[in-house]
């Protein structure tokens, strides 16, 4: 090994030096702003720390405390509960993608319209939906009144605050999954449908046995990314229900971490919760990588 290195030309060493200089910037950024904070988070999670004075080592105290903390468990439950919207959104967006995958006028226009909420700022979207969910004068209840339903005070009612946030999340994310499904549908080879039609397969059978398996990688990708995104839901909670909602019914994990760390200055405890969140996301991502490798259907 060493002999080959010494024999390498001056040109070669020059190339290595230039390459290292080019990658050095993001690598330093990674060390400073990802790796070091990550290790520090793990360390801080074993301490009692207010962010100002030195952390005091407490072992596993924060972790045992966490699983007896009613608010943590509630926010964990809320976060998981709000993921109900993921499968609902996927079904609707696949339907939309199928509809737009026809040769007809106006699909580009529809694609744009359905995509608008995706690119809209989540803060502005949360503000406008908070207004739309207003119990007396909001858009939603005005619409319900047209069909004779007396709508609830969505964001103040323990029974409706989570459904309200789910509806908003579906609305915001629909365009993205629709777009990915559309791209997947367009890459399904035409001859598969032609062959199936020749064999007398009905439209439903074609959908069930060709379309669904062919878009499976996208479905999988969307489920994983939505779970990762959903586990970090924060902005809409912070804006629409600034106190964590009625009886803490809409507080999410990240919202609770944020509150503990920056309002109550319990940074050690908040770090422990953030490590649990990080582990959760890591496991989901890892499973995605493993399963993706095994996946037979690839878009490439």
């Amino acid at each position: 090994m060493t002999t080959t290195i010494t024999r390498r030309s001056r040109l070669h060493r020059k190339e290595q030096r230039a390459a290292l200089a080019f990658v050095a910037i993001p690598v330093i950024g990674f060390l400073l702003f990802t790796l070091f904070p990550l290790l520090f988070s793990v360390y801080a999670s074993f301490t009692n720390w207010n962010g100002i004075s030195a952390p005091v080592f407490k072992g596993l105290d924060n972790y045992t405390k966490m699983f007896g903390d009613r608010y943590f468990l509630q926010s964990l439950w809320n976060t998981l509960y709000m993921m109900i919207g993921i499968p609902i959104g996927l079904v609707i967006s696949l339907g939309l993608a199928l509809a737009m995958n026809r040769k007809m006028r106006g699909t580009t226009f529809f694609r744009t319209v359905y995509y608008l909420p995706v690119i809209s700022s989540i803060a502005a979207v949360a503000i406008l939906w908070q207004w739309a969910f207003n119990g007396d004068f909001g858009l939603i209840n005005q619409g319900l009144a047209l069909v004779g339903i007396d709508g609830p005070n969505w964001l103040q009612d323990t029974a409706t605050v989570k459904p309200a946030l789910i509806i908003m999340a579906i609305w915001k994310g629909l365009g993205y999954s629709m777009l990915l499904y559309l791209a997947a549908l367009q890459s399904v080879p035409r001859y598969l449908y032609e062959a199936a039609a020749l064999d007398g397969a009905t439209a439903w059978q074609q959908f069930r046995h060709i379309t669904i398996p062919m878009v499976r990688p996208v479905t999988f990708f969307l489920i994983v990314t939505s779970i990762i995104g959903g586990s970090q839901i924060f902005v809409e909670i912070n804006i629409m229900t600034p106190t964590g909602g009625p009886e803490f019914q809409s507080a999410s994990i990240v919202w609770y971490i944020w509150q503990k760390a920056f309002d109550n200055l319990q940074m050690g405890y908040a770090s422990a919760m953030s490590v649990v969140l990080g582990l959760l996301v890591f496991v989901i991502t890892f499973i995605q990588f493993r399963l993706n490798r095994r996946n037979q259907f690839s878009i490439d």
Binding site: Q16, F110, L128, L185, P242, I299
Partner: protein, 317 residues
């Protein structure tokens, strides 16, 4: 220029093939084409009409909250509470859009958001592109280890890092300045490096080698050959990153306290908290609409590039 076009073309072509007809702007998907032939023409037409109808209803649902925001922003303070609600405000109070500039630090919010988003995306795109060039086209020890290490950073959610990051920046006195939002981004963006590297992989190595033989330095090669070649991918990733920075909320809310340093998203959130008590909804909605508008315009203008690159990145994931 023609030499650059030769470089640009090969990577673009497969990119267009993956999302099918998306390259032509109109999806030319197979749909249910295989089902019938001549006799089915009428059913196909009927199907198209029905589909358009369903999609139209859906489009109205999608657009309604945005339209409602705009409509509310033009009402009088009391007009908001009229029953049944007016979709078309009477009278039109364009004055609301004049009031927002004095009702809160909206202008400085826009400035701050622009400073953060522009500096991060311009410098960060350059550093990302340089790194992508090195990862794709240059020889270097531990190249794959370094690349995989960077990629692993994608698996760590920001909330896990935010507490130590905050204390780091607090210890050097950067809290309540824009620096904690800017500086990490200047070091590049792993997602961007990933996609640019993939894009560069489809460009033949011989081009770089030929330039080396001609005596060009690596920086010259990057500037004159690589940068023009990756332009389409770079532009798409740049726009996506810019919109993400513009819309960011969690990092700004951690670092910024005083009104003068806040970014636009924080300013409108504060509008919301402050003026809801005074039930001045037109003002809140006008400010929110102003915050939405730049990104909406960017999206409508660059629609095709954005949509294609998202469809592509998703299918690669």
């Amino acid at each position: 220029m023609s030499a650059q076009n030769v470089i640009t073309t090969p990577p673009l072509e497969p990119a267009h093939e993956i999302p099918g007809g998306a390259g032509s702007g109109k999806p030319a998907g197979p749909g249910r084409a295989g089902r019938g032939s001549r006799s089915a023409k009428e059913t196909l037409r009927l199907g198209n009409i029905l589909t358009t109808l369903v999609l139209s209803v859906g489009a109205i649902v999608m657009i309604a909250p945005l339209a409602w925001t705009f409509s509310t922003s033009l009402k009088t303070k009391d007009g908001v509470f009229e029953l049944p609600p007016q979709w078309i405000p009477d009278p039109f109070v364009w004055e609301n859009y004049a009031r927002i500039w004095t009702a809160g630090p909206l202008l400085s919010g826009i400035q701050n958001s622009l400073i953060v988003a522009c500096s991060v995306t311009i410098v960060g795109s350059l550093t990302s592109a340089l790194a992508a060039f090195a990862f794709a086209k240059m020889r270097m020890p531990f190249k794959n280890v370094l690349f995989l290490g960077l990629l692993s950073g994608l698996m760590i959610p920001f909330p896990t890092l935010m507490i130590p990051q905050f204390t780091i920046f607090a210890s050097i006195g950067w809290v309540d300045t824009l620096l904690p939002l800017i500086v990490p981004g200047l070091f590049g963006n792993i997602i961007m490096i990933f996609f640019l590297r993939q894009f560069l992989n489809s460009i033949p190595d011989s081009i770089v080698e030929a330039a080396r033989i001609d005596g060009a330095s690596y920086l010259q090669i990057f500037w004159t050959l690589i940068l023009p070649a990756i332009r389409p991918a770079l532009a798409a990733q740049f726009i996506l990153w810019f919109m993400a920075m513009w819309n960011d909320y969690l990092a700004p809310i951690i670092y910024l306290n005083s009104p003068g340093t806040q970014t636009l998203q924080l300013v409108i959130a504060n509008f919301n908290a402050q003026y809801a008590i005074q039930t001045d909804y037109p003002l809140i909605m006008a400010a929110s609409f102003v915050a939405l508008l730049p990104v909406l315009i960017v999206f409508v203008v660059f629609q095709r590039q954005i949509i294609e690159s998202i469809a592509l990145s998703g299918s690669k994931g």
